[in-house]
Each structure stands twice: as C-alpha cells, then as structure tokens.
Symmetry: C3
Subunit: 140 residues, 3 copies
C-alpha cells in the first residue's frame, strides 16, 4: 500500500483561531505504518488555512491575528458580501492567501519538522466551526 | 503505475484574471484511473499562481484583485523593471507570494474539496497569456 | 522504490537572503533515479520559507525584500518578543505567510519549471543561519 487517508475533526473559535494539529497528523502517519514519505494536510472549505508556526501565545494569539488584520481586515465591505448577503469576505481572502493545504515530509515514521515548527489550522471564518482535516499519507 | 502526468492549456486575460480549473484537474484524475491519492497542480512560470477560492464574481472579479493591488500594486517602479526593461514586477511578486503550485487530495476518484472551494489559476502578468497547467497525479 | 529522501545544507545571511536552490534539488532528483513524480522541498524551522521567483538581482535583492518589509516590518514590537526575549517576530510571520515547503513536478528526470522560475530558499531570520533543506522525491 502506498496511500493512506484519514481525517480528524477539530472545533474552532471564530476570527483567527490558530490550532496546533501536529500530534493528530503525526498519529495518522503512525497508523499508516509507512516509514518514509510525505503527508498532505488539507481542509475542505474556503475560509480555513493550513500552515506552520512556533506555537507560542505571542505569535498565535496576537502577532498572526494583527498581521492578517492589517492586510485583510474583517470590518470592510467586500463585494463577496453582496453576492450572498453574508459577511465572511475577509475569511475567504485569508484562505486564498495562506491556502487550504500543505505537504510535509516524514522519515522513520516521524514528521521532519523543526523544534519550533508546528502544523497549524487557521480558522478565518467569523463563526465557530467544526472542521474536518483530511490527511493523505504517501510513502512506503 | 503510481504516477500519471498530463497538462492542459488555458487562455488568460491580463491583470489578475482568476480562472476556475477544477473540472480540468478532476478530469485528469479520472484519466489516471487512480482511486486515492494527491494531485500536484503546477504552472511553469514566475508570473502565475495556483490557489483556491469560492468561485463567485464578488471574490473573483473584485475582492482578490483589490486585495492584491493593496499590497502589491501594478503601478510601481520595481527594481525588476530596470533589469530587463519590462514592467511585470508586481506579477513576479504576486506569484512569489501565492506560489506556482498546490497539491490536493482525492478519494474514490473525486477531489476532496469543500462545496465552495474551487481550484483556481491566477494570472498575475500584465498581458494575456496561454498558460500550461501541469498536473501530477500520485496514487493507486 | 518509490520514496527517496536527502537533505543539503546552505549558509544564509540575515534578513531576507534569497538563495537559488534549484540545482541542488535537481541533483537529488537525479540521484533518486526516478523519471516522473514530484519533489517536496521543506525547511525544518519556523523562520525560513520556500517559494519560486525569477532569480535576478532586482527581484532578489530589492523587490522581494521591500515587499515583505512593507507588510511585515522587522522593526516592530511583536508580542513574540515578550515570550522569549528574542527579536525575530517578523521572521516567524514571514515564514507563516510564505510557508516552509512547496512541491514541484519532474518528468523524464527534469524539474518542470518555467525558464524564469527558480526554486528559492528565503531566509527570514535576523541572523545568519546554516539551513538544512530536506527533499522528498516521490515517483517511479
């Protein structure tokens, strides 16, 4: 077998909730029994994003939020709001920018991340959501 | 066989033309006959980009364009213009930022995207182009 | 064999040092002996990034640096600085934004990049670093 796929769910808070999902991704690699390869981490949707950061409160609770707010503010009259009457244009733009997936290497069954590099899901929507994170492990 | 590669072409308009390429990518997955895996979608070049968005006119025709223009305006004297005498510095920076590739999962032969998540090519150059989108399907 | 993994090291300068790593990645594909597939290029850490650009001095020495400085300036009092007493909050945000990995296709043993598209490592930290770039080749 060369492909193993599994998803897990997380519960998010609205507005730039940054959640460490490293351990869940690592566990799915373990379940695959693959030793070496890559894992593609994807969130189905258009108002969430996958990236990495050092998971400490300064970055996670303040700096990332302030940075994204400085270039894509929530309180703005996006054209998207006129299409459906909703109010999550900023969430869509943040997801477009940071992207809904990223792939990571693993070797000897372990994610090859830096000591201060955690895989994160970034909620960009303006309401709490239950998110399904879909992992595809490709390896041997 | 575990790798299937095929490209398709699209014709773009200049300046932030956002094109839905989901159906072409899905068709290449179908041709691969793989059931489960990932597809890497890549544009060869340095003034185009691949990402996802909800493909509705507010986002596609206005919000994405206004956002990118707010942080990387076309009408600016980039140093790149002095190197070759051309004028697409903004296009290069947008491609650097959004990136030329992204990988997506599929299962049972279907892309695992959200209902409102479409795969898009984003033209960043200042002239109309014919773009070749190169897809690599890896799976089983 | 369907997975081949190898890393190489580069020495960087502080503050937005952009280094062309295309030839090293191409050499690892050659060593893998795979003809067709993808290569995942990853830097372990949270203050570096992988992307592509046309590798010419205007973009590499000026435009990319000025763009990133315009949205994520180094000289700012990020909350991250209070957590550890260090001063690389901007580097973390740039790495979060541009991301620590990207995957690229190859065919007949050759990276399928555009003529003006080079793979780059972007140093975002405020000190010189020795960086290990980890490549995972998946193919056949």
């Amino acid at each position: 077998m060369t492909v193993f796929q599994k998803s897990f769910q997380i519960r998010t808070k609205p507005y730039c909730d940054v959640i460490d999902i490293t351990s869940q991704v690592q566990e799915i690699i373990r379940e695959s029994n693959f030793k070496n390869g890559i894992v593609n981490v994807h969130v189905a949707g258009s108002t969430g994003a996958i990236s990495t950061t050092e998971y400490e409160p300064g970055l996670v609770k303040s700096d990332i939020e302030e940075f994204l707010e400085s270039i894509i503010p929530y309180d703005k009259n996006y054209r998207h709001h006129n299409t459906w009457g909703d109010h999550n244009g900023a969430g869509h733009l943040r997801s477009f920018l940071i992207k809904t997936s990223q792939s990571f290497p693993f070797q000897a069954g372990r994610l090859q991340l830096g000591t201060w590099e955690q895989i994160i899901f970034c909620e960009c929507d303006e309401k709490a959501r239950t998110r399904s994170i879909f992992c595809t492990v490709i390896g041997e």
